[in-house]
């Protein structure tokens, strides 16, 4: 059931909504006061109860991640916020930074306290100049009020927040690459383990959280962890609260919408997104950023043996609630909850070509399967589009993609392989037609 919320988006559309005055008028900086009155352990427990699944794409439970930080250590701890937002189709974190930056500042204060850190770095991709300006502005306002610095809200627990910037590299959204980039190095992902909670920024225990993950934390303390979790229809699957959803591509009202977790693709595309552009049939939908497998509109949920998902067995994929575990169970991925919709004016071969070009451009080049594989598939699709490929080469795409999966340092490789595997499997006929007709079968267009 569609349940729109405004925990993060209450300031959207208000000209001065990003200011401290507006934030406090709307009830801001109340959650942090409650949090700082608790012990560090109580703060982490409250966040655990909220069942915030990481909003950066992997869906890891936020409170659990915080609990991995050492209880006592001689080294400083760091909170690092991932605001590198570069996953194709994803445009939600930018709205928080531009329109509600104080929610991130408040969340960072709580986060630092919860993980035993005194400094937070917000890593913003360089292109987002307005976001950086608004974040710095919010930090300055908060510091002037004494909310940051030596005694936030009268508590003897110093906290500072800094904005750090990248320089244009999608891979820096991967958390260990981001840490290298924060340290002033090339943004190449690190081998794990060690994990950031042991050896993160500057060799110290570090928690990396997505911008939206940290921005929703104040709401958890404002309303209580349990109550927050129960906003979600997937509360029983430990996927709690409300979150931002995005929809772009061929819909009538593309944009960012906030709703309780458990929204369905049908609600996102038709109720919030206004339906398919030009009222044409839907070709497919990528639920949460380009690294998620694409779904066809006529797919059904096939989960006969899992009682957790019995309610949706046999239903259309468009009616499966958007949750971390629901989409994992159908072999898909929820990702960032920002869907890309295509109507039938789009050519699936060209759509995949567009994405593979992206991955080829953004691979950091450390792992052979990823570096070579992305380039190889790009060359094959180019041949398909030009009508020069054979059926054997078409089959090679899936083979190469399977060889990338699981054989790389970071999850970029899997993220690149997913669209390759899903597009070729689900639009097999379109690909075959291209090969058979020498590339003359299709509209050769992505947009009308």
């Amino acid at each position: 059931m569609l349940k729109q919320t405004t925990y993060l988006s209450h300031s959207y559309g208000k000209p001065d909504g990003f200011t401290l005055a507006a934030y406090e008028a709307a009830g801001g900086y109340r959650g942090v006061r409650k949090a700082l009155a608790m012990s560090r352990e109580q703060v982490v427990d409250e966040v655990k109860k909220a069942h915030i699944r990481g909003r950066g794409g992997a869906g890891f439970d936020c409170g659990t991640k915080w609990s991995f930080m050492p209880k006592e250590s001689k080294k400083p701890h760091y909170l690092v916020i991932n605001a590198d937002e570069g996953e194709p189709g994803t445009f939600k974190d930018r709205t928080i930074m531009e329109l509600n930056p104080h929610s991130m500042v408040e969340g960072c204060i709580i986060g630092c306290y919860g993980i035993g850190a005194h400094a937070a770095y917000i890593y913003v991709r360089d292109e987002l100049h307005l976001s950086k300006e608004r974040l710095w502005g919010a930090i300055r306002e908060a510091r002037a009020k004494g909310y940051l610095g030596q005694n936030p809200f009268g508590k003897d627990y110093p906290v500072e927040i800094y904005v750090h910037t990248g320089a244009g590299a999608y891979i820096c959204g991967e958390e260990t690459s981001l840490l290298n980039s924060l340290e002033g190095k090339r943004g190449e992902p690190r081998l794990k383990p060690p994990f950031p909670a042991q050896y993160g920024a500057f060799g110290c225990p570090t928690t990396v959280n997505n911008a939206e993950t940290v921005a929703i934390v104040p709401t958890v303390f404002e309303m209580g962890g349990d109550a927050f979790s129960q906003l979600s229809t997937l509360h029983s699957l430990n996927d709690g609260g409300a979150r931002l959803f995005g929809v772009s591509g061929h819909v009538k009202r593309p944009g960012v919408y906030e709703a309780a977790v458990g929204l369905t693709l049908r609600e996102l595309i038709y109720d919030l997104g206004g339906g398919i552009l030009d009222d044409r049939p839907m070709l497919g939908v990528i639920p949460g950023g380009s690294s998620c497998p694409v779904h066809l509109p006529d797919e059904t949920v096939n989960l006969p043996n899992d009682p957790r998902f019995a309610a949706w067995h046999g239903k259309s994929i468009l009616d499966l609630p958007l949750g971390v575990d629901t989409f994992r169970a159908v072999g898909g991925m929820l990702g960032t909850c920002c869907a890309i919709v295509m109507n039938d004016s789009a050519d699936p071969v060209l759509a995949l070509h567009n994405l593979v070009r992206f991955y080829k451009h953004e691979s950091c080049g450390q792992c052979t399967p990823c570096r070579e594989g992305c380039g190889w598939v790009d060359r094959i699709i180019k041949k398909i589009v030009q009508g020069e490929a054979t059926m054997d080469e078409l089959d090679e795409i899936s083979e190469i993609a399977s060889n990338i999966t699981g054989n790389t340092i970071c999850a970029f490789g899997d993220g690149a392989a997913q669209p390759m595997l899903a597009f070729v499997k689900k639009y097999r006929k379109s690909f075959e037609d291209y090969v058979r007709t020498g590339g003359k079968s299709q509209t050769r267009r992505l947009s009308l």
Binding site: G89, H129, S248, S447
Partner: protein, 160 residues
């Protein structure tokens, strides 16, 4: 000629360095600062300067510069235009916007217009997919573009 920062940017450099537990971490923000002062590109002189000020080897700084696409390794036009070409924008007509830019500027992607005013580039997803198609001009985003709107924007750049 050796590279130097303005007095104001020197102060900013000190501020940046103070944010981190070591100097190396300031490398990327300081490179941005220097690039801005150096007509938007990173020359060998800039690399030497940054290496010297942050106690890094020039090879380290060069390695960083070559990794990130936003550090320009050669001179660029007075203005930089990036047209997002990734899927959400492509579905909303980015291809048409891009070819129109090429026509208007008389140069291809990656090149600078003859008068040296505008360097044209493509970008990968700029987190503006809900307002596609879009482009970035210098530090600003322009969203929900149409061809006439692009014309208006480019006119402004070419005249200015």
């Amino acid at each position: 000629m050796a590279f130097a920062l303005s007095a104001e940017r020197e102060r900013e450099l000190e501020e940046i360095v103070a944010r981190y537990p070591n100097k190396m971490a300031a490398c990327i923000p300081v490179l941005h600062l220097c690039q801005e002062q150096n007509q938007n590109w990173v020359s060998d002189e800039v690399i030497t300067f940054v290496a010297h000020r942050l106690d890094l080897s020039p090879a380290h700084v060069k390695g960083v510069v070559t990794f990130y696409t936003l550090f320009n390794q050669k001179p660029v036009g007075k203005h930089q235009v990036w047209v997002c070409q990734t899927l959400s924008c492509a579905l909303r007509g980015a291809g048409e916007i891009l070819s129109h830019c090429e026509k208007r500027l008389g140069c291809h992607v990656g090149e600078t217009s003859k008068d040296g005013k505008v360097t044209l580039r493509t970008a990968e997803c700029l987190a503006s997919c809900g307002t596609a198609p879009m482009m970035q001009i210098d530090k600003k985003y322009y969203e929900n573009l149409s061809v006439p709107e692009v014309d208006r924007l480019l006119d402004g750049l070419l005249k200015g």
